[in-house]
Assembly symmetry: C2
Homo-oligomer: 177 residues x 2
Amino acid sequence: MDRRQKKTREAIFKAFSELLEHKRYEHITVQDIIDTADVGRSTFYSHFETKDMLLKSMCSDIFDHIFEGNICDYKTENKDLEAVLSHVLWHLREHKTDIAGMFLSESSDIFMRYLHEYLERLFRLHLDDFHFKAPSEFVLNHLSVSFIEAIKWWVKTDMQASPETVAKYFTEVTETH
Amino acid sequence: MDRRQKKTREAIFKAFSELLEHKRYEHITVQDIIDTADVGRSTFYSHFETKDMLLKSMCSDIFDHIFEGNICDYKTENKDLEAVLSHVLWHLREHKTDIAGMFLSESSDIFMRYLHEYLERLFRLHLDDFHFKAPSEFVLNHLSVSFIEAIKWWVKTDMQASPETVAKYFTEVTETH
DNA sequence: TATGATACTGAACATCTTGTTCGGTTATAT
DNA sequence: ATATAACCGAACAAGATGTTCAGTATCATA
């Protein structure tokens, strides 16, 4: 990829991340983004159709990297759920600066929906380990959302606790250990 | 209150509800609302400062009614958590037409934050009944969010299950029964 | 290092949304 | 019946959106 493209793309991502820390997603304008990233208006639109598309691209970039390979590998290696989750949390902390804004931002549903999808896929692999009477769709959603909330709590407390601790808190309140 | 005010207010609420069923909150414009409600632009702004304020007013109206008295009363009467939650769900179903849009809408954080607040207050009253090692703020958030997700699942399945069933699902996956 | 291709710039643009103002009209309470 | 208050609707400035285009800078590569 052309160096210029990469540079512009990263400048926009960075600007967007920064803005998300102080402003709700829906209140961030394209104008804000191009001002902060210091790129031309037409440049922005040549990269991303809309603000939503920008967010989607950003999610893909991050999550594809974090979840890459880990999910299926771990299951086949028979590691337990808590270990897998710890691993995911480790990766998330590496991306702290990229994602903190989105977790703290009041309204970034696209981001959350994305993460949710990945997590449901992860939990579905472990479905047999659970023994709930509630419908599996209910349970899978419950676990995914609960894990996202655990991450939110973690980010809010500046990711002080270890990934293992957070994973333990999670498996405790969901009775999945 | 002047009949006209009440009528206008209700027309706006109704229009907003309808719009939320088909459109995300952030993509609904004031223009949409006044077109649907068939009220003048200035009329809207004489009732609500912003779109956010409209949503807040709507939340207050609904939740104040639903939670009115119930929370504290039930605790003092020593009813168990599941019974209280069933009660809340009953009330919610009565408001089905008002709230379905907000639960199905992808992005109505103000609404959710509101509900979350009420729920945390409710769960906090029962905090002694739980025996989790995770920090209480973590646990309270976990329970509130999990309950909201249970409601979302319920609304998505058109509130077919009984409130008791949903409450049971919830207490099962959170191990709070 | 020369060159064609490609990405960026920045200004202009029509269009839409917002929130306010104000004179005129209609409904309400008593 | 009348004073009060709410509504209407048109107009407005300010700002955002998404597009276009001619000009400039940077890239890959030969």
